[in-house]
Symmetry: C2
Amino acid sequence: MTTGPARHRAEPAQPLGGVIPVAPTAFTDDGALDLASQRRMTDFLVDAGSDAICILANWSEQFALADAERDAVMDAVLGHATGRVPIVVTTSHFATRVAAERARRAQQAGAAALMIMAPYHGATIRASEDATFAFFAEVGAAVDIPIVVQDAPMSGMVMSAGLLIRMARDIPNVRLFKLENADAADKTRALLAGASDHIDGAWDGEESITLIADLEARVTGTMPGAVIPEILGEVMRRWATDDRDGATTLFERWLPLLNWENKHMGLQAAKVLMHEGGIIASEAVRAPLAAVSRDLRDGYVRLARRLDPLILRWSRG
Amino acid sequence: MTTGPARHRAEPAQPLGGVIPVAPTAFTDDGALDLASQRRMTDFLVDAGSDAICILANWSEQFALADAERDAVMDAVLGHATGRVPIVVTTSHFATRVAAERARRAQQAGAAALMIMAPYHGATIRASEDATFAFFAEVGAAVDIPIVVQDAPMSGMVMSAGLLIRMARDIPNVRLFKLENADAADKTRALLAGASDHIDGAWDGEESITLIADLEARVTGTMPGAVIPEILGEVMRRWATDDRDGATTLFERWLPLLNWENKHMGLQAAKVLMHEGGIIASEAVRAPLAAVSRDLRDGYVRLARRLDPLILRWSRG
């Protein structure tokens, strides 16, 4: 079932792929939403050449938001992007019914695609593989835009390649997969071997830290943090034109920054550099999440200044 | 800070305790809220002699509800209870800010107390003990009604006795504790030994399955499923009048029903018997949760019919 004409939707000319950074959720220092900074960050990510932007993901602290705040962020970003770039909206929720309702609202608001994790809650509540399949089938039937299945270790539900293949084959709008686990490269190979005719793209995640191995496994998209989309986009373009050495050289030059994000900064990384670069007003994460130490934060900024990414220069542009 | 006069609040004459069943959230067969059944269940729990009623807990499938649905259930129960019995509202959320806002709204709506878990999300996101303390301190400062700290294995954050003692001593309205872990009895002893002057009650949970050992450790409340409050209330009264043999005999007579709930039925137990007894219209849990097998469900109903609790007779009045 559809929900009427969408507003502001950027219709991709081809299947979504390339560099799709996760936009952080911008807060004030005391933890309130800062939608002005959210819009400014959207402009930066567009200017940095992002092929799409993902909002309300885990790297966006989605788990720290009330439902009304999710809607406020979604409406702010979709209203501001106004078709310049496709927006992927994460609409995960434990309950099938709530996830489907979120999916319908995101489609109506103009999302180009939805990203959804398997249902999970806390340390112990998970669904079986059959119930997980049914969850995606029901949420998929509620919309007609593509669904990106997010295989995320944080959920505590690791989906087997067999389950992903079954979803690709049997659920019409499940045609994109984002694999975040340590075995992303080999799982991508298994997924494509089992259902390539039903798949518009497999992507990696995890700050793009495994991008070269994943490109060798034929991912067509990568979902990093919102730090260096202009660099990762160039890596992807070089790879696509068979300049694998050039892609690898560029990736390895920037790998220390990705590594510091992946191992030390976490979801605060993009916020710190956006704040240093004058894009957003505060680098605060929302309590009870705590900021990384000043030492690690300052070491990250020093490393970034040495490499000089657009995120530090864009605002002076 | 307070939020003005509360509506409908049943002010307990003494600290909350006794039998505080968790009310399930009533759904229709297709998973919509069924507030008429929710109100009828509230009448049953009052008539069964509950000392208080807890809503929106994990046994209420709180993790399967949208924010607006939480509010709808809360308003329906508080509006219908109208001071007949204190209502404990679970207002857990990962984010300090959102949990505080939920707490303020529950106080304003007439909650007698709040129950709150340590912050958690998914398989991997937890807060440190210091951040957990700060979370409860900040949420506690947002209201002036008591907070029941819920130590729940489902959260994946097991709070140490030392942390609980520190919260009891240093956060004014943290004076009640519900311990659900397997070590509830000994943890209760450690908690009372360390902070009894700052504690209005330690309660157990987990379907009251460990009640005798926990009473020996001086719990003053128990939070079971909503199945046999009239029986567990009598157990508590006998114990309070030093009739420990009588309390134990009665508990052991009903233990098979608690055991079947704890080991086989889970949060569906009360729904099944309320449905069999004509109290609620559907025994459905919300997808992706699945119903237990017909065999286990029917075995539970046969066991209940042999013991003949009020839940099966109340509707026939």
